[in-house]
Structure formats: C-alpha cells, structure tokens
C-alpha cells in the first residue's frame, strides 16, 4: 500500500513540527512520522527549553533573538489554534551570563550590539543583590570533584555579568511541540505516530519516499530528516547523503540535574536563568522550587557517544535507561554548589538523561543534501530549542526555493527574519561547511 504526500517530515519534535506547520501553510501536503506515541516525546521532552540570546556567532545571536519573539507571541504564532492539552507557557526570568574565562563574553557582547539585543552590564555587587544566594568568587578552571584541587579556596572575584532582561524558558517543551502539531493540523498537516522509518527510497536519483518498519511505503518527492539523536541513522538510509556531509552528527549522552533551592530562597519565582562558564553549568528554575542544573560540557568531563536505539531501549547498564550517574551528579551539583554554597545536594540523584544530536562543530546543519528532494534539520546540539519556530520557517522557505530550482550549494539561500530586520545566510548552516572555528564547541553554540 502506498500513500502520497508532497513532503514527509521524519520526527515530530519541536523542530519537525514547525517545519510541517510552515510547509502546510505554504500549501504542501505534509505527513510527519514519528516512532514515538506523540509529538515532542523524544529528545524534545528532555530539553531544558531555555530561551536565551547569547551565542558565539552573530548569526546564532540573531536567530535566538528572533526565536525569542516567537515565544512571546506564541498564540499568534499558532494562529490561535485550540490544543486540548492547553498551551505551553514562556516564562521570562531574564538571563544572566557571568563574565568568566569559561565564556567568550566579549564576543557575545559584540554580537549583542550588532543584533540590537537589549542588555545591561552588571557588577559583582549588582549580581549579589539579584542572586543573594550566590558566591561570586572565581572558581576557574572547571574541574571534577575527584580532582583534589576542586576544593581549593578561591582567591579572586568574578568580573561581573551581562544581563538580558529578555530570556527564560518554556515550561513544557513536549507540550510546545504538541501545540505546533495542532497548529499544523489546522493547516492540513497529517501526523502519524508509532511509525519508525527504516528506509529512504529513491527513484531516478531523486527522493521517492519512505518505508516504515511494518513495511508500509509512503511516497513523497520531499523528505526532511528531523530525527534528532537518530538523525545520523536516517542520513545513512538515504543514498549518498551521509557521505555528502562534511559536517556529521552523532548522539551525545547528556545529564541534567535537579537540586532543591536553598531554604528561604524562592528560586522558582525570584530566580534567573544563568549561564555560568566559570563552573561549567547553566541553571534555570523548575517546578518544586528546584534548580535545574545543566552542564556546559567542560573539557575535563568524559563525552559519551551512544547509539540512540540502544540508549532509548535502556541497554548498556550504567547510566542508561534514564539513570543518572553518581559521578556526574556530584560533578554538576558540586560545581554549581560552589556558586550557591547553601545548595542542598540530595544523596539520590534526580534529573534527566537524554541525548544531544550533536554536530562536529556544535552548530546545526539546516540544509539540502546530495540527494535531490532530501533535506535535513539536524545537529541541534542541545541549543536549538529556542530557535525551533524560526527554523521551521527557514527550512520551509529553503525547501520551497530549492524545489523551485535554486542551487543552494552555489548560491546560498538568504533567509529574511520576520521580527528583526536582518537576513541570514542559510549557507552558514551548510553540511559542506568547514568546521566553524568561531563556535564554542559546547551547548552554548
């Protein structure tokens, strides 16, 4: 049995759903397939859903700032669609970037100026009034608790911080993907769940469709890989696509910890999102008045590249199957515990383990491929959640332009932002690019 669509999107996460939405709005008959049971149930669900503008490249800052505007305007973006599950909420906390050796904050500042991001520079004293629980000594370099020097007394103070009043997080990332799915459906999009793709079929050197695990074949001249941590496996299913990428992706295991806020501090309501390169952590508030503590992947931490199918099947013993590792629990919580000395660290780890779809330079690949009709939005490296609505629109326009004859590899598509007055060269995200040395090579992008 075959069914025919104009475009098939593989992956109903927070990046896949907006691509379906925008293509549908442009008149494409789309089908989004996902191996899981509902939208946003994959690595989207494990996302910290942080919305902040500091990136190491001007394009990165521009896109994040543009994305922020979408989250502010969420109901409009969804064209006031009704979702029986309710709408995801953007929580504006403001965003602190501590000035430290762990971040190239001078570059961030330059990018902010270039893009016009609102910000304020703070002294240590000013930070202290905003975050009274913080110890603002410099703890650099980031170390592991197994290292005896981890406990050395600090001697210097930090320089200060860059504060963006515009920043925060989305309270329910899964729900946000679900919202976009409902919006897309209202524009005629179809979503299919519990449907695992096992093959990308071609005909006469062009994309012809997909084959599902149960043998179902679905035809479409356009297929978009938005498979998240599975993206590299899907690229390998399409003839010539993996080989044609200079920038490759693979899946990286990543842990996020939850620690209760110190007694008497209402982090949930009074706290800020904070990127703290000095101790290699980022934090945001979470329900239950807890600190959600993510890692900025310092060089001293082991990187564990895993097979996504094995990971999600819970195979492999230690640390798999959504189980945090004790060593990393201590590393992240104790590091952040230096910044907040009253942070209680429970003996039992609590948090989230999921996968990043990580590219070679931690900058995503938003591109066509060497197989006509096959596109990809991959390598989102734990930092693209906030950009999802922008990416949806950009990818849809890129696909449409390429299908109408644009040779994007030769003449890169220029995407014009909707909210901020600026265009971005989509060639920046090319699969053919050389590794971008300006990248932070971390979740910071």
């Amino acid at each position: 049995m075959t069914r025919k669509y104009d475009a098939i999107i593989i992956g109903a996460g927070v990046i896949g759903a907006p691509i379906a939405y925008e293509l549908s709005k442009m008149g494409y008959k789309t089908l989004t397939v996902d191996k899981l049971a509902d939208a946003g149930e994959g690595s989207t669900a494990g996302s910290c859903a942080i919305v902040r503008a500091h990136y190491s490249t001007a394009d990165g800052v521009a896109m994040a700032y543009e994305g922020f505007k979408y989250w502010l305007d969420w109901e409009n973006y969804l064209d006031h669609v009704k979702d029986e599950k309710g709408l995801a909420r953007y929580m504006n906390t403001g965003s602190l970037l501590l000035k430290s050796q762990g971040h190239d904050w001078k570059k961030v500042k330059k990018n902010y100026n270039e893009i016009g991001v609102k910000y304020k520079e703070l002294t240590v004293e000013e930070i202290k009034t905003m975050v009274p629980v913080a110890d603002l000594h410099e703890f650099w370099p980031v170390r592991r608790p197994e290292d005896p020097t981890f406990y050395d007394e600090p001697t210097k103070m930090l320089e200060g911080a860059i504060f963006c009043p515009e920043g925060g997080y989305v309270n329910d990332p899964t729900l946000s993907a679900h919202n976009i799915m409902r919006a897309a459906e209202a524009k005629g999009a179809t979503f299919m769940f519990n449907a695992e793709v096992v093959d990308i079929r071609t005909k006469d050197g062009r994309t012809a469709g997909i084959t599902l695990k149960d043998g179902t074949q679905i035809d479409a001249p356009i297929v978009v890989n938005v498979g998240g941590p599975h993206s590299f496996k899907i690229n390998k299913m399409a003839p010539g696509v993996w080989e044609g990428c200079n920038i490759k992706t693979k899946s990286l295991r990543h842990e996020v910890m939850y620690c209760p806020s110190p007694d008497g501090y209402d982090y949930l309501n009074d706290g800020y999102h904070m990127s703290d390169g000095d101790v290699g952590c980022y934090v945001r508030p979470e329900v239950g008045n807890t600190f959600l503590i993510g890692s900025e992947d310092p060089a001293c931490d082991p990187k564990e590249w895993v097979d996504p199918d094995d990971f999600y099947a819970g195979k492999g013993g230690l640390g798999r199957d959504n189980v945090l590792t004790e060593a990393q629990w201590q590393a992240q919580c104790f590091r952040f515990g230096k910044r907040v000395p009253d942070l209680p660290v429970p003996n039992q780890p609590k948090g989230v383990v999921d996968l990043y779809d990580c590219s070679d330079d931690w900058i995503p690949v938003y591109d066509k491929s060497d197989l006509p009709g096959f596109y990809m939005a991959v390598g989102t490296s734990g930092n693209q959640y906030k950009n999802a609505p922008v990416v949806g629109r950009m990818m849809a326009e890129l696909i449409d332009a390429c299908e109408k004859g644009l040779d994007h590899d030769k003449e890169p598509f220029q995407y014009k932002f909707k909210y901020i007055t600026r265009s971005t060269n989509v060639g920046f995200f090319s699969r053919k690019r050389q590794i971008n040395r300006n990248s932070s090579f971390s979740v910071n992008g």
Partner: protein, 255 residues
C-alpha cells in the same frame, strides 16, 4: 554520649537491576546511602545537638566502595565513620553480629540508630537482632523520638494511622521511619568540611567472629519481568469501578 548510626550502601532505587548467573546483581550501577538511614542520621545529629559533647559515629558493613556512603553520612553530620570491609553479601544475622562487634570495639553506645529497613534486601530485622545481641530494647518504623529523663519515648507507626508510644530504657535501638524527620541534605560546604573526617576501615575477618549457626542465603535471583498486556475494562463508570474493585481484591490482592 556515643550515638551510633548503622548505614548501608545500597543500589540507587532508580538503577536498572541486571542479574548475573541467577544469583547476584550487576553492581556496575550507582550505589548510595540507604534512604531510611538518612532519617536515622538526621535524628542522631539532632540528639547530638541537644547533648553537647556527644558524638555521631556512622558504621557500615560493605564493600570498599561503601566509603562513599560513609562520606555521605559524614556530610550529613556524622563525626566519623567505621567501615567493615567485605566482598561478600552477609545476611541480617551476620550483619547484626558484625555491627555489634564493631560498635563494642569502639565504645559503649548511648543510642543506636538504623533505618527501619534497607531498600535492597528489605529484611526488616537487623535492628532487632542488634537489640537482642546487646540486650537493648528496639523499636521499628519510629516516627517520633524524645529523650525524657533517661528514657527514649518513641512513636512506632502502624498502618491506618495507628501509632503506639513506647518508652524504652537507654541504650536502645531506633529503626527510623520516613516520617521521623526531614533529612537535611549536605551542601558543598558540608562535603568539604567532612572530607577530612576520619574513617576507620578494617576487614570483616579482623572481627574474628564465629559464624552464626542460622543463615539466610540467597540461592536464586529472578528478574521480575513486566510485560504488560493491556486488557480493557468496559461499562458504565459504576461498572468500571466495580471491576476495578474486583481486580484490586482478587488479582492484585491489595484490598
């Protein structure tokens, strides 16, 4: 006053348990301080604060790696630790004897605290065996402890909200329940402060104990496999409720 707290190094309840050779588990998983022991420690520290000059000593029978659990205990307020190192898994009978011998070597206890059970073996008896070996009274699932004129007054909680108040002579053994207190988790400062706290470690064999006559020995471990086969319950809301009651009663046997 010497306040001893017996702590156990147990697999994280969230860890995936894999069985090797039908008899033991793959220990390449996270181990941590038994959660009930957190309450025992918190209570011991509280008693210490009320009795200046007292000392909280955490005692653990476990593999060398159990030092981590003692470190957690010390970060939560224990002054020092005693580690009885063993590669074997001992039953409650031998465990109680080893703990008793080690405690006795260290001094006379004023109070001994344990969790009411460990989350791995769930034997629920070590505290009573300790009591019997010392000839101390013991109480389990303690949700309140007061020291009143040289006696321990405790509430033991039973199901349905029923509580028995016991008065015990000192020394005695307290099996801490979840509602005894709210554990105060350590901060990095606490971890740093306790990093240098002493741990006295020795081998199980150094205790020169006689092997007890009675034994409980695990001869087989079988994974509890849950392959759920959903069955539909149909009918009106009241019919559905009726069927759920029957399932709870006859199949799940919880009513």
């Amino acid at each position: 006053m010497k306040l001893f707290v017996c702590v156990k190094h147990v697999p994280d309840s969230a860890a995936h348990i894999a069985i090797i050779d039908h008899i033991r588990i793959d220990e390449n998983i996270s181990f941590l301080l038994n959660p009930y022991d957190e309450h025992a420690l918190t209570e011991a520290v509280r008693i210490r604060e009320m009795n200046p000059g007292s000392e909280v000593i955490a005692v653990c029978l476990g593999k060398a790696d159990a030092e981590k659990t003692l470190r957690s205990a010390m970060a939560m307020g224990a002054d020092r630790g005693i580690l009885i190192k063993t590669d074997k898994r001992h039953d409650s009978i031998e465990t109680a004897l080893a703990l008793k011998t080690a405690i006795e070597q260290d001094g006379s206890p004023a109070l001994i605290f344990t969790g009411k059970e460990s989350i791995d073996d769930q034997g629920m008896q070590t505290l009573f065996r300790l009591g019997a070996l010392f000839d101390f009274p013991a109480a389990t699932n303690v949700v309140r402890l007061d020291i009143v004129s040289g006696k321990a007054v405790t509430d033991t909680e039973f199901s349905g909200g029923v509580v028995s108040t016991y008065e015990m002579s000192l020394p005695c053994v307290i099996g801490a329940g979840k509602r005894l207190n709210t554990p105060k988790y350590p901060t990095v400062r606490d971890v740093m402060r306790s990093r240098k706290s002493p741990i006295q470690a020795f081998e199980f064999s150094d205790l020169n104990m006689e092997t007890p006559k009675a034994r409980m020995e695990v001869i087989e471990l079988i994974p509890y496999i849950q392959k759920r086969q959903p069955k539909e319950i149909t009918g009106s809301p009241s019919e559905i409720a009726q069927k759920i009651v029957e399932i709870l009663k006859n199949e799940a046997k919880v009513l």
